[in-house]
Amino acid sequence: MTRTDGTRGSALRRPLLSLAATAAVLAVWQASGALGWIGPNLLPTPTEVLTTAAELAETGYRQVPLWEHVAVSLARAMAAFLAAIATGVPLGLVMGVSPTASALLDPFVQFLRPLPKLALIPLVIVWFGIGEFSKFFLIYLATFLSVVAGAAAAVASVGRDRLRAAEVLGVNRWQMFRHVLLPSTLPDLFTSVRLAIGIGWTTLIAAEMVAATSGLGWMVVNAGAYLRTDVVLLGIVLLGLFGYLLDLAVVGLRKRVVPWMGRE
């Protein structure tokens, strides 16, 4: 990590610092329990959480194996994310391109988007019952609205001179959209998908409060009711971990698809 070895050093520096910070927090957390600063029921230590993880992996939580809780939550979230991106990106782009579409739809998007999705749970149950679809719908809605707003904004931020440069090269309206506008919005689209997935993942716990019997969100809420703070913490760690992995996946994909981001 010397100065002369600048690129390699700085490439390693970041993960090492992150790792060190994580290790430090874990150590303090562990010490707080081991030294009796905080009672084990208030904050189980990392090793206790690990033990619980091993236990649940073997025997499951409420008759459901731990991996299934993870898989169920991931499946719900991924289905909702994919549907939200597949519908939200085109709609947002149309709103970005067409002032009429924007004028018609923007009030609804902007009204619904900041609404806490928890408030919708009673209605969603009345409409769709307590099945899978209700949970899907809540995550979908949160992600979708965020993607729509982001995609519309992405169109608006495409530089005027880039569009002019394309115009003088003789593109027609469709070519302008397909070959200039769409690729130009990719960096911002990735950013808004990234944010939207963060929001959607947060909605997971709300969605799984709708009479679920499995899933990480449900596990946390259920364990809380029985004061199983170790399971609650395990659930939180897993929710955070998979949220983080999802984000890494999106960033990785972005690096492949939009290698020019930030390098123009």
Binding site: D161, R162, R164, A165, A166, E167, V168, L169, G170, V171, N172, Q175, H179, V180, P183, L186, V258, P259, W260, R263, E264
Partner: protein, 270 residues
């Protein structure tokens, strides 16, 4: 030497007649008058440089001819037809290269023909030729963000030229380049233009650049812009850039232009 005294010859390729252009200002009630009764013309195959202090309306003139903007009063015509929208008959090179970063150098250069549905066999040779002329052979597969600023601008020049436009509009295209690259680009521009006879309007701040390139130099007043003076360049006296002002006729014109531009620059920024 007054702008209104300029009479367009019958064979004018581009005519700008008594144009007024104002812009709304977001934070002020009054509109900004960018152009106040501007008239100019470019003959077929002429290379005219537009010179003037910052903010005097040079880009506005170019944008009107390109069709990006419409005048409030007056007329802008190319080949006698009013300009209504941008089109591939009027290529533009901007101060920033404005390449498409998701396309390779080659795909950027061939963007126009590809969008027009020209079969690859018909533009491939041209693309190779223009890339060679701008010194970028071997960089066809590179991405724009892997090139230096000067290389990017050379790609932009090849991209503008490949469509064989009748008119080329250039807005301070070489201003961001280092002196050596700029000179290479200027020489390239003169070569290409000699070979193709393209009509070129070239906006610049740089008096030496204007004299090296232009058949005629138009000097604008400070905002609101008008044409203040017209200086014809004796092209026979122009040889290489290093000895540009050896000829007394050229030295005299440089002297005149410096005086004209200084006077307006003082008005623009007192």
């Amino acid at each position: 030497m007054d702008g209104s005294g300029v009479i367009a010859p019958p064979r004018a390729k581009i005519r700008v007649e008594s144009v007024v252009k104002t812009y709304a200002a977001d934070r002020a009630a009054a509109r900004t008058t960018a152009l106040q009764d501007v008239s100019l013309h470019l003959g077929e195959g002429e290379l005219v440089c537009l010179l003037g202090p910052s903010g005097c309306g040079k880009s506005t003139v170019l944008n009107l001819i390109a069709g990006f903007e419409r005048p409030e009063f007056g007329a802008v015509t190319v080949d006698g037809r009013p300009v209504e929208r941008p089109g591939p008959d009027r290529a533009v090179v901007f101060q920033q290269p404005q390449l498409f970063p998701w396309l390779s150098v080659l795909d950027n250069v061939t963007f126009g023909p590809r969008m027009a549905g020209v079969p690859p066999a018909r533009y491939r040779e041209d693309a190779e030729r223009y890339l060679r002329l701008v010194g970028l052979t071997g960089f066809e597969r590179h991405a724009p963000y892997e090139l230096s600023g000067g290389m990017r601008q050379r790609v932009a020049l090849a991209r503008a030229w490949i469509a064989n436009p009748a008119v080329l509009l250039m807005d301070e295209p070489f201003a961001a380049l280092d002196a050596q690259t700029r000179l290479t680009m200027q020489e390239l521009l003169l070569d290409l233009r000699r070979a193709t006879g393209t009509t070129i309007l070239f906006v610049t701040h740089d008096i030496d650049e204007a004299l090296f390139l232009a058949d005629r130099v138009l000097v604008m007043t400070a905002r609101p812009g008008r044409i203040k003076a017209e200086v014809a360049v004796p092209r026979a006296a122009v040889r290489d850039f290093d000895n540009l002002f050896d000829a007394p006729a050229m030295a005299q014109r440089r002297h005149d232009l410096i005086a004209l531009v200084r006077e307006e620059a003082r008005k623009a920024a007192p």
